[in-house]
Every structure is written in C-alpha cells, then in structure tokens.
Amino acid sequence: MSRRQTGSSEGTAPESGMASGRPWDNAVALVLKYNTVLIFLVMIALAASLSDVFFSEKNIFNLLRQVAGLATVGLGMLLVILTGGIDLSVGSLTALASVIAAYFLGSMPLLPALMLTIAISTLCGAVSGYLIAARNMAPFIATLAMMTIARGLAFIISKGSPIIIEDPTLNGFGSAYWMKIPLPVFVMIAIFALVAFILKFTVFGRMTAAIGSNETAVRLAGIRTGWYKFAVYCISGAFCAVAGIISTSRTGVGSPIVGTGAELDAIAAVVIGGASLNGGKGTAFNTLLGVLILGLIGNIMNLMNVPGYPQQVIKGLIIVFAVLLQGWQRRSDA
C-alpha cells in the first residue's frame, strides 16, 4: 500500500504538537487513551443502575456464556485485522463448524469429530489465506467468497434443517458449569490468554502487527510476510470452529443459520476495542472489552425489556460513539 506524500524531502521537522502540563488536559488525555475501558465502565454502571438483577451471578454468567462465541471469533478477527486484512467468512464458518460437528457426531466418537471439525474450518481459513497471501486477492473479496461458500456448504450438509445431536458429553458441555462458572467461559478465557500471549510475547504477534503497520518495510527486512498473512486466516478459521462447537453444544443442534451477521459483530468488537482497520494497532484485552461492551448492550436492554429492533439502533450508535472517541484521541496524539 502506498501512502504518497506530496512535497519534497526537505524540511522533515513537523509542526510541534501542543504539549501541556495542565492537570485537566492530562485527565482528558487519560480518558481518551483508555476510552474502551471507560465505555466499558460506563456500560457496567448504567446496567447496575438500571436493573437490580444485573449483578446477579446468574445474569453475569449468562452474559459471559452468551459472548463466549463472539469473543472467540473476535480474537481471531483481531489477528486478521492487525495484518491490515479482514475476514468476512467467520459467521459462515461458525455455522459450517456447528453443522459438521453435529454431522460427524452421528458417526464417530467425540474427540475425532471435534478434531475433524476444527481441521475443516482451518482448511477453509487456509483457502482464504492462500488466495490473499499467495494470489494477492483483496481480503474483502476472498473472504466474501468464502463466506457464501461456507454458508452454502452448511446448508447442503444439514439439508437445510438443524441436525440434532445425541452425544451427551458435548450436549452437556455448553450448559455445564465448573465452580459455578459455565464451561464456555473457560474456553473464552483460554482463547483470550492464548491471543494475548501471542501478541505480547511472540515473534508471530510482533510480525502480525508489523505487517499491518508497514508491510513493505517488513518484507524488505527479509521476513516472509505472506506466511504470516496466510497463518492469521488459518487461526481465524480454527477459532470459528471453536465458536461453532460451543454453539452446537449449547443448543444441542448443528444449525446452518447460526452466526448470521457474526462477522459484523466481530469487526465491531475489534473496532470498539480501538483497533485500526488499516492494521498494526489493537490488543487482545481491548478486543475482549469490545466484545463485552456489545454483550452488555444486549444484556441491559434485555433486562429492561427493550425489543430487538431498537437494540440494533442503539448498538450502531455506540459503535459510532466509540470510534469518534478514538478519532479525538488520535488527534490529541498528533
């Protein structure tokens, strides 16, 4: 990607920004810097004041269980977005995984069935990744194609109706608890820890963000940028399988219609978490907060019996507000 600058090479010194030591300015800067945390806290406070049952154990864990799938998919999306790409196929891959997991469970034991499901979903991600990294296809286009292909496959395999699963182990998993905490929440935490670790401590995480910041410079440093780009779509695919399996275990059916529009929720969560769609910027923690913020919006309004349609409008407004806040932050940085 080329960012052409007009003008010549002389006079490289930029106009100096406003540096101020006044406490009020510092407070504003702090608020802008941690805007995702702030929005999250405001949502919590709002929820607590609007509803007595919000802080009940049942509600909190319900909320967490509901967002476990979105968090998983969103963290995969974060890796993709960090490279400057996008993955539109995550919703469809979730559905495909949900269906094939149920389908395989009809004929084989639990573990191989789940392994196979993850493998197939990863393979779908690999196809997108190959098209993007090796064939230079635009991520939007490649994953758009994968989105309709995967959804179609999900319908073909399920013949258009949900596949009911008989396996009691998986059936129980989605709604089971350990130490009063729903099991899908542990999956979510594990995925979060994994992604946070990758981004903070590993070469893979380093290169992923570096590619999104300046792919040319990374390639000219002798790094195989294509390989990393390929890998993030594989990971995203694998995470979709996890989300699909969670969905199947929670509902007891493999359904071809789960995850409709989930790609947009996942992108929204990453963006609310302060990541840049141009790549290079974003953290696992903030993405998790973004997911929780989206979950909270739904949760609060459900508690207050707001119908579904206004919920969508408010969700949209909050996304706009969050991104506006980040815009202010960027300007105050400059």
Binding site: S2, R3, R4, Q5, T6, G7, S8, S9, E10, G11, T12, A13, P14, E15, S16, F201, T202, V203, F204, R206, M207, A209, A210, S213, N214, T216, A217, V218, R219, L220, A221, G222, I223, R224, G280, K281
Partner: protein, 508 residues
C-alpha cells in the same frame, strides 16, 4: 521609485524547533520573469516555497503580493492570492480526464450538475493558451508525463495564478518533453505570470532563467544574472565549502570480492548490468533519475524480479527470489524511501532494530526475550549514536537522520557482508549526513562491501572508491578513484541524451 514585483519576500525566517530552516531570506519575482532558485538538498528551497504557498507559516519577515503585505496562513489562502505551485510529484487523479483534473474544485456549473461541453471547452482554451492542443476529454493516465505536467500547470492557471512555482519540473521528463515544457513557460512569461523555477539542472537554468538566486543552509548566498556567472561559479556558490571537511579520508584496505553481479537484465529497465564489490570497498552507482539505479539494487536484493543474470557471492551463485533469500545470504538493503520502506514508524526503535534478526533474541516457541532484545538494540543504538530517550521510543518521533540510523542499525545487527545503500542521506540534515558518511567509512573499514546510490554528486565523489555510471538502465562506464569527477560522471550519465552544456548538478 520602486520596481513592481509580483511577489516579494523580505527577511523571512522559519525554524522547526531548534533547526533554522530559513534565515532572513529575501527573494522576489517580477511579472513575466523566470527566477531560478538553486541550492543543494536541504538548502531551504522547498521550505521557502512552502512558506510562500502557505504550507508553512513564516516566523518573521514580510511577504508582499503585488505590493501589498499579506499573511498566508494556508495553501488555500495562497491560492486565493494567486500563488500556484506544481510539485515534482504530480498530484493529478489518473482516472479522471484532463478537463476534470483542471477544474477539479469547480466542476459544477450550478445545482451540482456538470456541463461537459462548457467544461471541456474552457479546459481546451487553457491548454491551448500554454501552447498545447491536448484533448481535454482524455484520461490523464493516457497522457505522457510532460502533458500531465501541462495539465497541472493549466489547473493552476484556471485559478488565475499570478506567481507559479515549479519544483523540479524536468526531473521526470525526457529531453524532448523538456522542450515542450519550456515552450509553455515562455507563453506564461508573455502573459505576465511570475515564475519561480527550482531545478538542479544548471544547463536548463542557464537557458531559461532571467535571474538566479542561490540558497545555502537556509540563507541567500546571492542573486545573479545568468550572463554574469559560469556554471562553475554557481556550483561553488551552492557548495560553499570544501569537500575534504565533509568527507574524511579513509585508508582503504580493499580485500576479496564479496559480491558479483553478471548480466542482470529486466525488461527495458535494466540491460545487461555487471559489476562486482570487494570487501572494504564503496562502489558508487551514479546516473540520472530513472536510469535504473534503484531497480538494480532492488533486483539484487530480491525485491524485484530478475529476468536474466547471475548473482555470485564468494564464488557461489545465489538463488535470490525474495528479500528473505538476500538477507539469508548476507545482503542488506537500506531502501530509498525510509518512511515507507525502511522503518515501521509506529513501532519502537527496539522492535525495528531486531526486525530482520529476531531469531537472535527469541527463545522456545518463538517467544521474544525482551531483556535480551533491549540489550541488543541498546548496543547498536549506542554504536550508531541514535539520539533518542531510550530504545522504546517510537521511530516516528525521531528526526530523519536518526530514523536512517535505525535502518542501518537493523542491518548491522545481522551479520551481513554487503550493504546496498539507496540514497541513504535523503531528507537528512547536514549534521546527520556527516555522521552517516563516517559510518559508511567505518563499515567499509570493517570489511563490508558497500554499494552506494546517491544523487548527490558530492557524496559519490567524496565516498566512493569506484563509480559505475548508468544511462537508461545500462552501464555507461566505470570510473576509478582519480577519475571520479563531476564532469566525468555527468558526461557518462548524459552522453548522447542531451545537447546543451554537459554540466548539470543533479541532486535530487
């Protein structure tokens, strides 16, 4: 009685933080005059023109347009005062037509509708006004570069421009196209437009300028008439200092050959280029812009495809298909465009330095050992005297010179044997330039083979042991130490291509 000036700049100063970019500069343009502005890179030409066109605001001094003092606070206000500027890099929208580009800000005839016949007719008139019968309905991307430039000039004219600044207008033009541009400039002169002509090509300046002002280190050295001076006079006004002060001598112990390129070819851009670099040697690549200098080093580095040719390192032929292959063979590239290709601006110095050799500081499972990384980065930051708070500072916050040192540090931390430097001092201030020169000498002394591309003649002459001069993608000649002179280089670089004087200080 005062002479009338289209624009008059009186004692203008401008500094960026501690750097004085312009000091007490006075400069003026008469109606119907071509006033050439010359000086080395970093002399302040572009800064002065940016102050005049409103991109930068002056710190002190006066600017008068047609005798009236004005404050130019933005490019928009500059435009309104009749000051237009055509940058070296054309700023046209390739998929729109000539007419659309010319009237880009005022496409509509009213109600948001476009009256195509009127638009094309007015554009045609403007184009013919500068002497060109270009079809205004043609897409700009289908026009030659010279014609695109005419379109851009016409766009400025469409806003009733009184002073037109041309920043290196001929650097992208073929000799025949230069003639076309000059025709247009003569027409503008006749219309009473004041022209500021920035160029490094002295032969052009002597042909068309009415007056010449020389800038050096942000101050005016003098304003002269072309009849009063020789090109040599002008060059010494521009340089103003002896080479030896900038380029310390080094005792070159040149060793074995480290890299040999044989018969490198790529389409029409690179034709059968062969050369070799030895350990401890600085090989210069000189030539005009577009002569294939960057393409060659990029091809050697695997950043561009090679169609034919061999790259041999220590008698072993290399297969280089990607930058990765090159890096693993011990070849490093400091690319031409630092910000877009050299550094990752949003990352700290530390992460930039360890980018190509991250494995040196990783443990099991690709986990980066930050302590070790910081130590390695610190070691090279100190060695190269990178001025920064610490190695965790973002590269975006550093000056151009320090950013360039980060790029160098990145490669020094790998154990490379050949460094390809593509315009390593572009956009770097004079102090940092000298540091980079010293560094190049040190690297050569430590036994690396160095290939240096530079458009600054002084650097090529001051630093290189041998110079390969290119012309249109082919080797025009090899010069050895006593024969490396400006005249010899320029003769090879332009031979057969131009007429006129052979002297042209080509610095951008």
């Amino acid at each position: 009685m005062t002479e009338s000036y289209r624009v008059e700049i009186i004692n203008v100063s401008k500094s960026f933080r501690a750097v004085h970019a312009l000091t007490d500069v006075s400069f003026n343009v008469k109606p119907g005059e071509i006033h050439a502005l010359v000086g080395e890179n970093g002399a302040g030409k572009s800064t002065l023109m940016k102050v005049l066109s409103g991109v930068y605001r002056k710190d002190s001094g006066t600017i008068k347009v047609d005798g009236k003092p004005v404050e130019i606070r933005s490019p928009h206000e500059g435009r309104q005062l009749g000051i237009g500027i055509v940058y070296q890099e054309l700023a046209l929208i390739p998929d729109l037509t000539a007419a659309e580009n010319i009237f880009i800000k005022r496409l509509s005839g009213g109600w948001g509708l476009i009256d195509w016949r009127d638009l094309n007719q007015r554009a045609g008139e403007l184009l013919r006004g500068v002497g060109f019968d270009i079809d205004p309905r043609r897409k700009v991307s289908h026009l030659s570069v010279a014609y695109q430039q005419i379109v851009e000039i016409s766009r400025e004219l469409s806003e009733n421009v009184r002073v037109l600044i041309l920043d290196e207008p001929t650097s992208v033009l073929a000799p025949r196209e230069v003639e076309q541009l000059f025709t247009a400039l003569q027409k503008l002169k006749a219309q009473g437009v004041g022209l500021v002509y920035i160029s490094h090509r002295l032969d052009e300046i002597f042909r068309i300028a009415d007056r010449i002002t020389v800038l050096k280190d942000g101050a005016v050295v003098g304003t002269v008439l072309p009849g009063e001076v020789t090109p040599d006079n002008l060059i010494s006004m521009m340089i103003g200092r002896r080479l030896s002060t900038l380029f310390p001598r080094r005792d070159c112990r040149i060793g074995e050959e480290v890299l040999r390129v044989e018969g490198l070819s790529r389409g029409s851009r690179i034709g059968n280029v062969s050369f070799a670099v030895r350990a401890g040697e600085v090989l210069g690549i000189a030539g005009l812009v577009g002569s294939g200098r960057s393409e060659i080093v990029r091809a050697v580095f695997g950043a561009e495809m090679i169609q034919k040719g061999k790259i041999v390192m220590a008698d072993r032929p290399l297969k280089i298909r990607s930058p990765r292959d090159a890096v693993q063979s011990g070849i490093a590239l400091v690319p031409e465009n630092r910000k877009e290709q050299g550094v990752i601006l949003t990352m700290p110095i530390r992460k930039n330095i360890t980018m190509p050799n991250i494995r040196q500081v990783t443990g099991v499972m690709g986990i980066v050992r930050e302590r070790k990384e910081r130590r390695l980065a610190q070691q090279f930051a100190e060695k190269l005297q990178i001025k920064a708070r610490d190695v965790d500072q973002e590269v975006a916050d550093l000056s151009g010179g320090n950013q360039q040192k980060v790029v160098l540090a990145k490669w020094l931390s790998t154990n490379c044997r050949v460094i390809l430097l593509d315009e390593p001092t572009r956009g770097v201030d004079v102090g940092a330039k000298v540091e980079i020169y010293n560094l190049i000498n040190e690297l050569a002394a430590s036994g690396l083979g160095i290939v240096l591309i530079s458009s600054e003649m002084m650097e090529i002459i001051g630093l290189c042991d041998r110079v390969m001069v290119l012309r249109e993608g082919r080797v025009a000649g090899m010069l050895e130490k006593p024969g490396i002179t400006e005249v010899n280089i320029m003769r090879l670089a332009v031979q057969g291509a131009g007429n006129g004087t052979a002297v042209a200080l080509q610095t951008n």
